[in-house]
Point group: C2
Chain length 415, copies 2
Amino acid sequence: VSDAGKRATPEVQLEELCRGAVDVQRGDELLAKLRSGRPLRVKAGFDPTKPDLHLGHTVLMQKMRQFQDFGHDVVFVVGNFTASIGDPSGKSATRPPLSDEEIAEGARSYAEQAFKVLDEARTEVVYNRDWLGPMGFADVIRLASRYTLARMLERDDFKRRYAAEQSIRIHELLYPLVQAYDSVHLKADVELGGTDQLFNLLVGRELMRDYGLPPQVILTTPILEGINARVEGGAIVGDKMSKSLDNYVGITEPPREMFGKLMSINDALMFRYYELLSARSKAEIDADRAAAGRGEVNPKVLKVRLAEEIVGRFWSPGDAIAAAEAWEAQFSRREVPDDMPEITLALEGQAETLVARVLAEAQLVPSVSEGRRRIKGGAVKIDDAKVADIQATLGPGTYVVRAGKRAWARVTLEP
Amino acid sequence: VSDAGKRATPEVQLEELCRGAVDVQRGDELLAKLRSGRPLRVKAGFDPTKPDLHLGHTVLMQKMRQFQDFGHDVVFVVGNFTASIGDPSGKSATRPPLSDEEIAEGARSYAEQAFKVLDEARTEVVYNRDWLGPMGFADVIRLASRYTLARMLERDDFKRRYAAEQSIRIHELLYPLVQAYDSVHLKADVELGGTDQLFNLLVGRELMRDYGLPPQVILTTPILEGINARVEGGAIVGDKMSKSLDNYVGITEPPREMFGKLMSINDALMFRYYELLSARSKAEIDADRAAAGRGEVNPKVLKVRLAEEIVGRFWSPGDAIAAAEAWEAQFSRREVPDDMPEITLALEGQAETLVARVLAEAQLVPSVSEGRRRIKGGAVKIDDAKVADIQATLGPGTYVVRAGKRAWARVTLEP
């Protein structure tokens, strides 16, 4: 790919690089930079306080890798300046100031994960405290004088908070300028970011112009939805992938967990993941979607192929195949999975309790009555023996309980 | 005064210090501080870019002096930090960054003038760049995090400009915090300022509290109107005294200029000047105003006394008497003044021109027809000879021209 990539014409590069991007400002400037023939400096910033990468982060990294495959250089900016300050207003318990050791460890872990996608040889890792730290109060005043309050309040979250009379602290107005100044210092040709970063990237563009530099081209990537996204009226609706919402696939998760999470997404989301995460071309993905729509291909087959591709990328093709086999064994051949949840329930003085109630309390079904329906439908097994009677009970002990195709648990009933 | 002042009870000090103040926050806190018995640290800040003091500045300085006379210490903060930055947005041509030499010279000149009012022994001159200069970007972020945008936009001029969609640059939001941080650093007990500084002084109060310090008491003085202020409906209406509006009395102006400017103010403004500038008590001033109202005293006599007091303060009692005599000679005994304006007019090919026209072109009267009226009224003299004919003309030459009590010029008519 790399050698072919480096031979690509500026026009071909432009088309491929803009593919899947949400915002590009501006394509003509990017083309002119590509035509210069020199390797471009492609900047992207990362927060070392959150070193656990998930697939959502890799959408951007795939785009960075694409630039590298065309012979350009990535400048990977570790935001250790603000991380070392934390939340100075003390309002956010989740943003304590980090020590230098914590930042170094976070950045090291981040880079290690990132290099599963990026080409290490074409990546320069820089720390923005190196140039922001020595700036004095007078430098900050000069920097802040280059931007107006009105323009800063155009940012969506500021506008919303200001209108809602929610508190905005003065230092928050400085942060977009911090990020923008990084671009000035690094003389970035291009800055990449998620589409939620659009405003900050544009400030960088303006600030560079104000400092007499050619403005960076900005290119944003879509935000990947979490694995629990739903489909409503044909559209995908759901929160973005996020660790705190527990709807993520971490890129260091073991192959089987990664595979299982990817197999749990719905079919519409699968095609979205194909578009944002797969190396397959748009044409191939469109053809698969059409074939699935006509019933010519089972979506499960496509989903297995996607999960194998992604697990293979972060682990190895062998790991991907093993994970696929384990998944098939668990869910398709109905074998007892190795890693089912362990649940302990208290009988609270009673000698026995209803199986239907155990199913509900173990959260394998939403209610006791749904438990009874499952028993009636023949879907419930205790230690591999089917339960036929909706009045069946269990006493103290440990049981493998199943309430359907994917609802398993190892339940211990304590006296 | 000084020894008596130092023996004054806290209650007497409080009453005298609050006399003439516009805002005091808070009187009970000031009383508690005065009761501590220790000398208070009374802060006031000055801009070394404008080292020419006028009477408007001395209103505040008289208040500072009053504190000193009660045994307290003035901390005179030279704002060399922002002066060394100038206007970084480059929008104001009047605020170029100053060199260290210019700042030192400005501060020296400022202090020299200020010590005509202040007690040098009880004044500590400090430069805020000494503590603001070493602050880094991270320190600025921590400082800025202590204040919200909403509170900052409560400042009158920000509110007005924001509502009018006029540009506010981000660094302008930092300046009130700069001034407020000075109070934190200096652990000020009291900050004094003009009433237009109220917002900034209050920010200092809040910031000190936020840093765990006892908040400074703030006390503001009225803004003195310029010598051209008018009276409308019994109220004084006019711009504040300002060098750029040329309605000021500079404290280094020669005694005769100072005296003449003070004699030119109208009677209502004279009593305002008495209240804000004179050492006389409120009771004495009220008695004089009442006597003038009843026609028992000529306001001109009171005005001469005020002008003598002020000239005497900045020069000497002897200088004041000499200035008064010169003024009387010029305006009361109608002698030709030494320093009348020199005006040159062109005859533009004509052999002669009307005296009435000369009066108008020399701006001694507003129009040619007013010139004719003055001639008819017998108020016009050329080289001390009264002009009787409204058709009188003048040829090339230099003439002392008078069109009334105070309208004099030395006019040269060029062929």
